[in-house]
Structures are given as structure tokens and as C-alpha cells.
């Protein structure tokens, strides 16, 4: 028992010290900045089952964490109208590659948010990056003011 304690106590203390010293927050950058660093982009493929959830357009917001080599080490979906779209976007994001961060330490990580729009046109749909689309009428929101006024 004492032997076990003698091993566990230093490990516990060491962990405690690491927690006190370590800075767990991942630095965060804007979407514009993180997209500027992009060197390999794989477009998400629209899953047909998402047609049931999206009428015209929807927004998908993802958060990624990249390491110094520019590889995606974590990706999560923050907002999406359908789980099938989550899967499609995440599948694509894991293949994205960013410019390596040369001036940072090995353990450095950088987080950022990425926006995608899901556009449905009749019986087909596509997931696009914001720069590939103009004004988007998102489902569930009232039409633009001018149209509303005319009603």
C-alpha cells in the first residue's frame, strides 16, 4: 500500500504542477486569417439525406484546431441543420491542410471557425464556401424586407 502511495503521490503532484503551469487555452484566429493559410481544400459532398432538412439554404459552422504542421487535429460542428451534413463537412475538413506555422513551438495549436453554406436547388444540393456564394436566404428566416413589404 505504502509503495503504491509513494508512486501515486509524485505522479499526482506532477500532474498538479503541470495543470498549474500549463496554459490549456488554444489561441484562436479569425476565419479570414485561417482561410488565408489554406493550402489544400477538399469540398464537402452534399449528402442526399440532407434534402429532408434543408429547403433552400442553411449555414454550417465548424471549429477546427490545427497544429504547427498545418494539419487539422480537431474538428467539431457548432451549427448545422442535419447530422448528415455534419459528417460530410467533418470528413472534408479532416483532409484540409494549412500553411505550417514556422515561428511557433512544436506543441502550438491554432483554432478557428469555418463557415459553409448548404444550398439546395430543387432535388440537388451543394455545400459551398462563403466566397462561392452571394447573398443567402437562410431557411427559417423571414424573406428580405422588400419582399415582406410587398406582401
Amino acid at each position: 500500500m505504502m509503495q503504491k502511495l509513494k508512486v501515486l503521490v509524485p505522479i499526482g503532484l506532477l500532474l498538479c504542477a503541470c495543470c498549474l503551469y500549463g496554459d490549456t487555452g488554444v489561441p484562436y484566429t479569425s476565419e479570414v486569417a485561417i482561410r488565408d493559410m489554406l493550402i489544400k481544400k477538399v469540398n464537402p459532398v452534399f449528402p442526399p439525406e440532407a434534402l429532408a432538412s434543408v429547403r433552400h439554404a442553411a449555414v454550417i459552422e465548424a471549429r477546427i484546431v490545427m497544429n504547427v504542421s498545418g494539419d487539422v487535429v480537431d474538428a467539431t460542428i457548432l451549427e448545422s441543420p442535419d447530422p448528415s451534413l455534419n459528417k460530410a463537412v467533418l470528413q472534408a475538413l479532416w483532409q484540409w491542410k494549412f500553411r505550417p506555422l514556422t515561428n511557433e513551438s512544436k506543441d502550438f495549436k491554432l483554432a478557428g471557425k469555418l463557415t459553409f453554406y448548404c444550398i439546395v436547388d430543387g432535388k440537388s444540393g451543394r455545400i459551398v464556401n462563403p466566397d462561392e456564394v452571394g447573398f443567402v436566404e437562410i431557411d427559417g428566416r423571414e424573406p428580405a424586407v422588400s419582399k415582406r413589404k410587398s406582401r
Binding site: Q3, K6, L13, S30, G134, F135, E142, V145
Partner: protein
């Protein structure tokens, strides 16, 4: 075997002592700094009394103290501190006054004059390296660069008195009346945009089908806990990209940032810009000129409950 176990026990004992010593040393270093509040996960702050000023600038006075004033052009709290700077400027015999800017300001002299700050020198400094988290920040350092005091934000009358005393003012000279706080705050209490509406006004506009877009720029969790009817949620950090695709630029854009004058004052006096200030600036930069804030002074800026939501989507 017994011998190995004995050695192992000795090694573990030594390790225990070393780790324990490290933890104690760390806690000693971390929590015995003057003005440091106890926290299990403290921020790694560079600027505190007793630390050495981290700057490449060779601006320290050799014969007296140096009083650094970290400013930024367009900073509301710097302008609201003009009366304090005027008093500080009278003590330039006790301390060299150095005005710092994060980037080159062509009309710095004019700006300093506007702030009533008579500085002995002006310099461009790397605020991140120095540890300056917001403006204005005033730093008092000795000839060797040791920080004697740091004050951030719009200083209240007690902090101003303390600074003036540190600069050598007598009790009567350093006296700053409490109403000075009100005077300073009065200049910055209004929302930063040209126009603002109360929640009641927004509801009335919705009822009358007035054309506008209501955007809630708080994060998703806060939006989920309650928001104005008809508001669309675009968190502030997403607005730069999403705004132009989801909000028409020619329509009136009303932003809900949970504005409340008390919270605004608290935040501003801490030296860091409030969510509303950042929102107004960022949204304006994105090209949305027809911008207004929504607030409810009576409710203390709390958003209406989602349960009260009746006409979803009526804001657009």
C-alpha cells in the same frame, strides 16, 4: 531484488521531494507577487508590480521614475482620462512621462494635446510583448525598469489619488473628488453607435413591419438561453464572414449585444472594450453603415426570454 526495491524507494522518495519542492516554489512565485489575486488557474500576466518592464525601448529616466502611459488612438477611456492626465503632467519633475502607442501615429503631438498629456517622450511599443492588455494602461517604473505600479483602464478617484501620491503629490494635492468619476464616465456612457433603440421600440417597429434586420451577436449558448423575437444569431467572431452573406447591407441593422449602461461602464473601466463597442466597430468596418444598438435600461440589458418569443422572424 530487495536491493533494487530499496533503490527504487529511494528514487521515488527523492522524486517526491523534488516535485513537492517544485510545486511549493511555483506557488510561492505565483501567489506572492504584490496585487496578485489567488486563482488555481492564474493568467500569465507580465505586468505587475515587482516585475521587470519587458520593452526594448531605451526610455527609462536615469535620475527619476518613468511614467509610461499606453494609449491608443480612438480609445474612449483615454479621452475620458484627460483630466487625470492634466494632473499627471504637473509631476514631470518627479517622473519622466512617456506616451506609448501600439503603432505610429502621425499626429501624436496633437492627440496628446487633446488628452492634456504633456509627455517628455513618445514611442511606439509592442503592447503584446509588454503585457499591456488594454488602453489606457499607466505603468510606473524605476530607473532600472522595475515596475512599481500598473493601473489599467479608466481610473476611479481612489486610483488616481494613489498614482498622484506615487508621483510625489501631497495628500491635498493628490485629492481627487469622487464626482470626477461621474464626469469621466458621463462622456462614455452612451452607446457607441449613432442610433440606439430600446427593446420596446424594436418590438413596436416589428409590429409596424418597419424594415430592419435584427442580429444577435452573442454566442450560441447565450442566444439559446433567450433572445429578442425575430433576432438572427450571428456570433460576433463570425460576422465578418457571415454578415455580408446573410444581412442586406442597405437595410437598417439593429444589433443586440445585451447592452446595459452599468455593464458597459464596468467593462470600459477595466480598460477592455465591451462587446457592444467591438461589435459596433467591427460591423462598421464590414461595411454596414446603417447600424444601431438595441438595449433595455430598465431590464439592465438582459435579453428577453425565449419563452416570450411570439413572432419569430419578424425582425427581418
Amino acid at each position: 531484488m530487495a536491493r533494487i526495491l530499496k533503490y527504487l524507494t529511494v528514487i521515488i522518495n527523492v522524486m517526491t521531494i523534488v516535485v513537492l519542492a517544485f510545486v511549493l516554489w511555483f506557488i510561492w512565485q505565483r501567489y506572492t507577487k504584490p496585487g496578485q489575486e489567488f486563482s488555481f488557474f492564474p493568467k500569465h500576466e507580465k505586468l505587475h508590480a515587482g516585475a521587470k518592464l519587458d520593452t526594448d525601448l531605451n526610455l527609462l529616466a536615469s535620475d527619476r521614475l518613468t511614467f509610461f502611459v499606453a494609449l491608443n488612438k480612438g480609445c474612449h477611456y483615454c479621452e475620458a482620462s484627460a483630466a487625470f492626465y492634466e494632473r499627471v503632467s504637473q509631476y514631470n519633475k518627479a517622473a519622466k512621462v512617456v506616451a506609448l502607442f501600439p503603432n505610429a501615429v502621425p499626429d501624436a503631438a496633437e492627440y496628446l494635446q487633446h488628452l492634456n498629456l504633456k509627455s517628455d517622450a513618445t514611442a511606439v511599443a509592442d503592447y503584446t510583448k509588454m503585457g499591456v492588455s488594454g488602453t489606457p494602461t499607466v505603468i510606473l517604473a524605476d530607473a532600472r525598469g522595475k515596475i512599481l505600479g500598473v493601473w489599467t483602464g479608466l481610473l476611479d478617484h481612489t486610483a488616481q489619488t494613489e498614482v498622484l501620491k506615487r508621483l510625489g503629490a501631497t495628500d491635498s494635492e493628490a485629492y481627487v473628488p469622487a464626482f470626477a468619476d461621474t464626469v469621466a464616465l458621463a462622456s462614455i456612457t452612451k452607446p457607441v453607435t449613432r442610433e440606439s433603440f430600446t427593446y420596446a421600440q424594436v418590438k413596436e417597429m416589428q409590429a409596424r413591419h418597419k424594415p430592419f434586420t435584427l442580429v444577435d451577436i452573442r454566442d450560441r449558448d447565450k442566444f439559446g438561453n433567450g433572445h429578442l423575437p425575430g433576432a438572427i444569431n450571428i456570433p460576433l467572431d463570425e460576422f465578418e464572414v457571415r454578415g455580408p452573406h446573410e444581412v442586406k447591407k442597405d437595410s437598417l441593422l439593429i444589433v443586440d449585444c445585451s447592452y446595459c449602461s452599468e455593464c458597459e461602464l464596468k467593462q470600459r473601466s477595466s480598460g477592455l472594450p465591451s462587446l457592444c463597442t467591438i461589435s459596433a466597430q467591427l460591423i462598421d468596418e464590414t461595411g454596414f453603415r446603417n447600424l444601431a444598438l438595441v438595449y433595455d435600461e430598465k431590464e439592465g440589458g438582459k435579453p428577453l426570454s425565449a419563452q416570450n418569443e411570439t413572432g419569430h422572424g419578424s425582425g427581418q
